[in-house]
């Protein structure tokens, strides 16, 4: 077993649709994509965000872009114009995801 930091093998961008935040995670290579596909599960992402994401996290695989797309429900404290958070639009969910570490 070894630890892989997501920031070392991928980049990410996130954005909002009302109270839903999506985080696109783009692997640096095809091999990195396989690693992410195997180890970066929606359960792990939900756990990493803890109380920030109240609803479910759905993962879409996007092989053509070597990317995974995580759609996080009830994730923005009610949505952009209801949220008390500084990151009311979830633009920084990407940064927090990049901080994840995977046991591979």
């Amino acid at each position: 077993m070894s630890i892989v930091k997501v920031i070392d093998i991928a980049s990410a961008r996130s954005g909002d649709k009302n109270n839903i935040c999506n985080i696109g995670v783009m692997a640096n290579s095809k091999a990195d994509y396989q690693l992410l596909k195997e180890h970066l599960t929606s359960e792990k992402v939900k756990a990493h965000f803890g109380e920030l994401i109240k609803g479910e996290v759905i993962r879409y695989e996007w092989e053509a872009l070597e990317s995974l797309n995580f759609v996080c429900y009830e994730a923005l404290d009610g949505g952009g114009a209801r949220s008390r958070r500084m990151d009311n639009l979830g633009k920084n969910f990407s940064s927090h995801l990049l901080r994840m570490e995977l046991d591979v």
């Binding site: 980049s11 990410a12 696109g24 803890g50 109380e51 872009l65 949505g79 114009a81 209801r82 500084m86």
Partner: protein
Amino acid sequence: MSSDKVVRVAGTQGFYGDSPMGAMAIVMNKAADYLMHDSLAELTLSILQKDKMRDPSLGYPRDIELHAKILFPATIKSGIKVVTDSGGLNPAAAAEKVKSILQAQGISGAKIAIITGDNKIDELKDLKEKGLLANMDSGEAFSFDKMPTHANVYIGAQGVKDALDQGADIILAGRVADPCLMLGILAHEFNWTIEGDNLSQKQLDLLASGIVAGHVLECGGQASGGNAYSEWPMDYSIHDLGYPIAHVSADGSTVFTKLDNQGGKMSRNTVREQLVYEIHDPANYLTPDVTVDLTQIKLEEIGPNKVKLTNVKGKPKPEKLKMTIGQMEGYISEQFFFFSWPYAWDKIKKFEEGVKGIWKRLPYPVKDFEFQYIGVDGIHRSAAPRPSDEELNNRNELGLRIVIRHEDPKTSQAAFSSIICLGLNGPPGVNAMPGWGKPNRVMLGLWPTLIPRELVHPVTKIIEV
């Protein structure tokens, strides 16, 4: 129409308030045939509704006035057309304003088109009586208990095509779905059929290709090196970031590029990053005109600052259109305080104790509040790793953001003026930030619903300058 025809569209506005400099550079270099501007985020519509309630001649993004002064004279002179949703909630008033600003500069003969029919705020009662407006996510029935601030249907590209077919130089649309601004341009140039029940797979693929090109452009500089983790540490300049330009061919294939003499970068990574942005299921990206399947796309770098996108697939459009209703739910207010070394963290905790004690005695109860620690968990809240108390006490400085949600606008004044006394009565070494913290930001709920297409009638009208 020759098959090697290429249409050049630049995405030069990503939001209400974006810089016009990227657009100016592209116009000066004559590097595009069209500028596509998107200024309507969900929240923007509620801001515009507030403007319109204050003054019925407003209700459109005001930067259209700056564009009419400095950008449109140049686009008209160069024959470059501008397609924007900056008509907002009041395209007719936006067009009158643009017309008067152009006339004041001695410009005549230009055609401004407006596209309306998306705004349903005055029809909500009727629609509810028809049994419509249920929340498309929860199924809940709509209620007027919370005041509706706006109600706009995402409409498709047909109006944009019609306006261009009629010779429009500037299109000021209402809530045309962002990427449909692009699709309308391409449908006009390549004579693609948008509406029709029996479109062939090839026709659907073309529509889908246009949508994806529009999706890449709709956030402006975010496609050409802005906001890009994948290009960090960004070995290019950002002060003069070159906005994205799409070169679209008749078969729907698109090469994304940017001006070589501007900053930013166009790479497979920058386009990939924008493609995943605000998309849910990549196999079913829903738009008013076509459902897009992005899972088979081919994205390749074909040269410096040149990225080619092909093989976008289309499926029939969704049966109904999406409408979003804004609902007034109260206000959000905030204030900031900063605490220096020593004991920065303990001082914050003492300050909080004072705030809570004072608020208990207020005639306007503050019930919904949060204390957020800038430099610790301001952005990622409880998900951020928490340093030890000792480490926090040793920081040079820490910030406290107090944010409250409230129904009565008077609550914010009471809440924040009542705690200013802690500047003298509270812990030592506190900096209040006069002028920071905006009181009474409108707290807005967004109610998504589906509406039958036959109840939506987009109208395109031409106004001559």
